[in-house]
Each structure stands twice: as structure tokens, then as C-alpha cells.
């Protein structure tokens, strides 16, 4: 479904990602793990074209994404939940969802119902200004906003960051549910233990390079991951 082939990217001439090659197949949940500053966010930003790759190719459902501007990506079926949620703080939670459905206005009411079924909490908070939602609610709202466009592929950037342990649990529960609904998910996480329970496969990114990949079980069992990241 998504093929990233030897992609490199950087900021103002300083490279942050080198020769990244990865693939996401339809129906899969794939994780990208790695330490701070590894380039995980950069990878997602390249996929949704917020930054242009300096080399390499991207394709989605067989069609190249070269030359596709950032604002056309969501129309192709890729929705991106950015790092730190980035809700519009002075819009209400429902208005945020409306922005998510900007390109899919016709199906807004129907999508809203689906999303509220998934996140009943958001329905209670629909008229509340997003800036005053709790951290967990904000993360739900950010994910819900991305789902409003009816994506085929969902990019999640550290959905558990900055949340209390209990809330982290429920967010991963939600991610599992979303995967079960048939969405294809590419998720970036530092909470490796948790994310490996949710995804089918994962890539390990370090210093801008993909250094390892494999199924969730393989990675969980890999000694270097156990040592460096799982603290075993």
C-alpha cells in the first residue's frame, strides 16, 4: 500500500533521514521505534509531504507521490496525527473534527457518528474548546480528527507521549480498536513495550537510518532491543 524507497530528508541542508526504505501493506499495523531525535517524526512528515524528500521515492497504492503537494495527500487517503496533537486550541472539539472532514464534507454527519461511537467521550465534550480538553481527550480528538477524512492509512506520531500511564493504556486500547476496524496504521512510538503489543511488524530507526526490521515478536526477542530499549 505504502512504499518508501531510499528516502532521505533534512532541515535546511542538515540531513535527518538517510536512505529509509520501508513498506506498509493494506490492513497491517506497522510500528517505527527509535530513540529521541532518530528521525521518526521526520519520516512521517516526509510521507505526508510536509517536507519534501531530498532523494528517493514514495508511492501509495501504486501511484507515485512525487510532485503531490502536502494538502493533496489527505485526499489520497493518508491522514496524519501530528506530534504533540496540534489541535486548534480555540476551536471547539467538534469544530476540530469538522476541519478533519474538510475534504469530505458530504459524509461529515455519518463520519461524525462513527467517530463518536469510537470515542464516546468526545461526544460529551463536543462544544468544549479544544485547548481546555485533558491530555487524553486531546489525543482522542486528534486521532478522531484524522479519521474524519475517511483515510486508508493512518499515520500516528507518538500518541502516548506526555500522558499518564492509565491514559496511555486506554490510548493503545483505542489504537488496537482502530486497527481491528480495518484501518492500516503506521505508528511512531517511544513506548516500545506497548507498541510492540499492538503492531504486526516494526522498524527500528536510529540516527536517521533504519537499522532493523522484523515482526513484533522477533523484535521483542532481539537482545539489542531488549537491552537498549526494554531495559531487560
Amino acid at each position: 500500500m505504502l512504499a518508501v524507497n531510499k528516502v532521505a530528508a533534512g532541515y535546511g541542508g542538515i540531513p535527518a533521514l538517510f536512505d529509509a526504505t520501508l513498506e506498509v501493506r493494506a490492513g497491517e499495523a506497522v510500528g517505527v521505534i527509535g530513540p529521541n531525535g532518530a528521525g521518526k517524526t521526520t519520516l512521517l512528515r516526509v510521507i505526508s509531504k510536509l517536507i519534501e524528500p531530498t532523494s528517493g521515492t514514495l508511492s501509495f497504492e501504486g501511484a507515485s507521490l512525487a510532485g503531490v503537494p502536502a494538502h493533496a495527500i489527505v485526499g489520497r487517503g493518508i491522514a496524519h496525527v501530528p506530534e504533540n496533537r496540534r489541535l486548534f486550541p480555540r476551536l471547539t472539539s467538534e469544530e476540530n473534527l469538522r476541519m478533519g472532514a474538510y475534504i469530505a464534507r458530504g459524509t461529515f454527519a455519518q463520519r461524525l457518528e462513527q467517530v463518536y461511537a469510537l470515542f464516546p467521550r468526545l461526544k460529551e465534550r463536543r462544544a468544549q474548546v479544544a485547548g481546555t480538553l485533558s491530555g487524553g481527550e486531546q489525543q482522542m480528538c486528534a486521532i478522531a480528527r484524522a479519521l474524519m477524512s475517511g483515510p486508508k492509512l493512518l499515520l500516528l506520531d507518538e500518541p502516548s507521549a506526555g500522558l499518564a500511564p492509565v491514559v496511555v493504556q486506554s490510548i493503545f486500547e483505542l489504537v488496537r480498536k482502530i486497527c481491528a476496524e480495518g484501518y492500516t496504521v503506521l505508528i511512531v512510538e517511544q513506548n516500545i513495550r506497548q507498541v510492540l503489543k499492538v503492531v504486526n511488524r516494526a522498524y527500528l530507526l536510529d540516527a536517521g537510518r533504519i537499522v532493523r526490521s522484523g515482526s513484533a515478536q522477533e523484535l521483542r526477542a532481539a537482545p539489542e532491543i531488549q537491552k537498549a530499549y526494554l531495559g531487560l
Binding site: 510536509l50 489527505v74 477524512s149
Partner: protein, 288 residues
């Protein structure tokens, strides 16, 4: 004696209220553009001047029906707003903020001079006189009443648009987080251009109302441009509600000050009030 005095004062206050509506409308487009794009159009009043000339020529020279001439003027100024953004603002969008202010100042020079060149310096008048409306002892110009009504209509219309429509929501959203708008499938450049056209359209609406009350000449922009900026700043740049309140405060200063002294003194008092307020509430009356 005191009775007559009171009724004239009341008349001044009510006229100030009507003027406030007009000033509120004037500040609306400027505030919208600033709130979304973060750029002050110093040439805003000159856009309005263009609209006034458009109404004048279409109505007086080409004998269009007045309403049609006004609609055309609104469309024209909307187009000017769009052009201004695409060709003047966009190239300096990432430059120093002060350059954005200055570049529109260049446009001010250009429009004012071009109007002198093309239309000459003589004053032009639409020749439409609306009757004055009497209310007991007091009288009000119908043009002002119409302007007040249209201004309120413009305000309510804009508010509905911003709060109800997708585009309006996007316009509000983009001022809160420009960088992630593409993730919503929104092209920020397009929203900016549309906002500019909308701001221009509001300037066009203002020009239709001003042309009913004032003569047109190439430097008319200088006579109400400054006050429009000050209203926006006093209300908090980009804060439309604040601008609305500030417009009515200013209008009262002008009307009541003009009642006791000369009109210019009314302005002087309003401007000094503005400067004093800036030191008390630098981010506007509703700012934090």
C-alpha cells in the same frame, strides 16, 4: 436652554452611534486580514477609495443602476484584495514583519498617485441625496442609517460565515496553527488568497456606504485610513469583537467632541485617547 442642549447632545450621541457602525464595518476587513495573515494593509483605505471611484464611474458615467454599480464595486475591490495578496504580500510573507507593513505602504502611494493621474484631483460626488430622517426634534441622515444597517448586516454575515461554514472554520483555524493546515487537506495559500478577497469585499462594501455620504478624491483614504488602523489596534489587531467595541468608542469621541468643539478636536481627543490606551492596554481593550 438646558433642554435644547440635551437634545442636541443626544443627537450627537446617536449620530456617534451611527458613525460607530460605519467605523466598525471599516475595521472589519482589516482585522480579518490581519487575524489570518498577520499583515496590516496600510493601503486598506485606498482600496476603499478605488471602490468609491468604481461606484461613481459606473453610476454617473455609465448610468448603471446604483445597486448594480455597488455590487460591481464590491467585486472589484475583492479582486484588488486578491491581487494585492498574490502579487505584493505573498513575496514578502516570510520576510521581516515590518517589510509587509511597508510594502502595502508602497501600494498606498501607488493607488493614491494613480488615482490622481487617472481621475484628477477634483472632488467627485455621486449626486444622490438621501432624505434626512426626523425623530422628534432630532434629525439624522438616511445615508448614515443605511450605512449603520449595512454595517450591522456585514458584521452578522461575516460572523455567520466564520462560525458556520467549512471555509470560515478554516479561516479561524489557520490563524491558530498555520503549519498543520495541509494535514487537513487545506492549502494555506488558497485560504490566504480567499481571505484577502473577502477582506477586499468588505472594503468594497464600506466604499459603497462611504460614497453615499462623502465626496471622492484621491487622498480621501488618508482621511479615514488612520482612524481605521487605530480602531483595529485599540480593539486588539485581529480581534473583531474588540474592533467593534473600539469603533463605537472612537465614534463617540468624534461625535461628542465635535459637538462641544470642532470636528478636528473630536479626532484629536480620540487619537490622544488611543495613545493613552496603548500604554494602558498595549494589546487592545480585549487583549491580555
Amino acid at each position: 436652554m438646558s433642554e435644547i442642549f440635551d437634545i442636541y447632545l443626544l443627537e450627537a450621541v446617536l449620530n456617534g452611534l451611527l458613525l460607530g457602525g460605519l467605523l466598525a464595518l471599516l475595521s472589519l476587513g482589516l482585522n480579518l486580514v490581519f487575524g489570518v495573515i498577520d499583515v496590516v494593509w496600510i493601503c486598506y483605505a485606498e482600496l476603499i477609495m478605488c471602490g468609491m471611484y468604481a461606484v461613481y464611474y459606473l453610476y454617473v458615467q455609465y448610468h448603471w443602476p446604483l445597486v448594480l454599480a455597488m455590487l460591481a464595486a464590491i467585486a472589484l475591490v475583492a479582486l484588488l484584495g486578491w491581487i494585492l495578496h498574490q502579487f505584493v504580500i505573498r513575496p514578502v510573507l516570510n520576510a521581516e514583519p515590518i517589510n509587509q507593513l511597508l510594502v502595502t505602504g508602497g501600494v498606498l502611494f501607488f493607488l493614491q498617485a494613480a488615482a490622481t493621474l487617472v481621475f484628477g484631483i477634483e472632488f467627485k460626488n455621486l449626486g444622490v441625496t438621501l432624505p434626512s430622517v426626523r425623530l422628534g426634534e432630532m434629525s439624522f441622515s438616511a445615508a448614515r442609517l443605511v450605512a449603520f444597517g449595512a454595517a450591522l448586516g456585514g458584521v452578522v454575515g461575516l460572523w455567520l460565515f466564520l462560525s458556520r461554514s467549512y471555509l470560515g472554520t478554516a479561516i479561524r483555524a489557520i490563524s491558530q496553527d498555520r503549519a498543520i493546515m495541509p494535514l487537513m487537506g487545506v492549502d494555506p495559500g488558497r485560504i490566504f488568497a480567499l481571505t484577502s478577497a473577502l477582506g477586499g469585499g468588505l472594503a468594497g462594501l464600506a466604499s459603497c456606504l462611504l460614497v453615499l455620504q462623502y465626496d471622492i478624491h484621491p487622498s480621501i483614504g488618508l482621511s479615514f485610513g488612520p482612524i481605521t488602523f487605530l480602531i483595529c489596534v485599540l480593539g486588539g489587531l485581529g480581534n473583531m469583537l474588540g474592533g467593534f467595541i473600539a469603533a463605537f468608542i472612537f465614534a463617540q469621541f468624534i461625535a461628542v467632541g465635535g459637538f462641544f468643539f470642532a470636528v478636528e478636536w473630536g479626532y484629536v481627543i480620540a487619537f490622544i485617547f488611543f495613545i493613552a490606551m496603548m500604554f494602558w492596554r498595549p494589546r487592545g481593550i480585549l487583549g491580555k
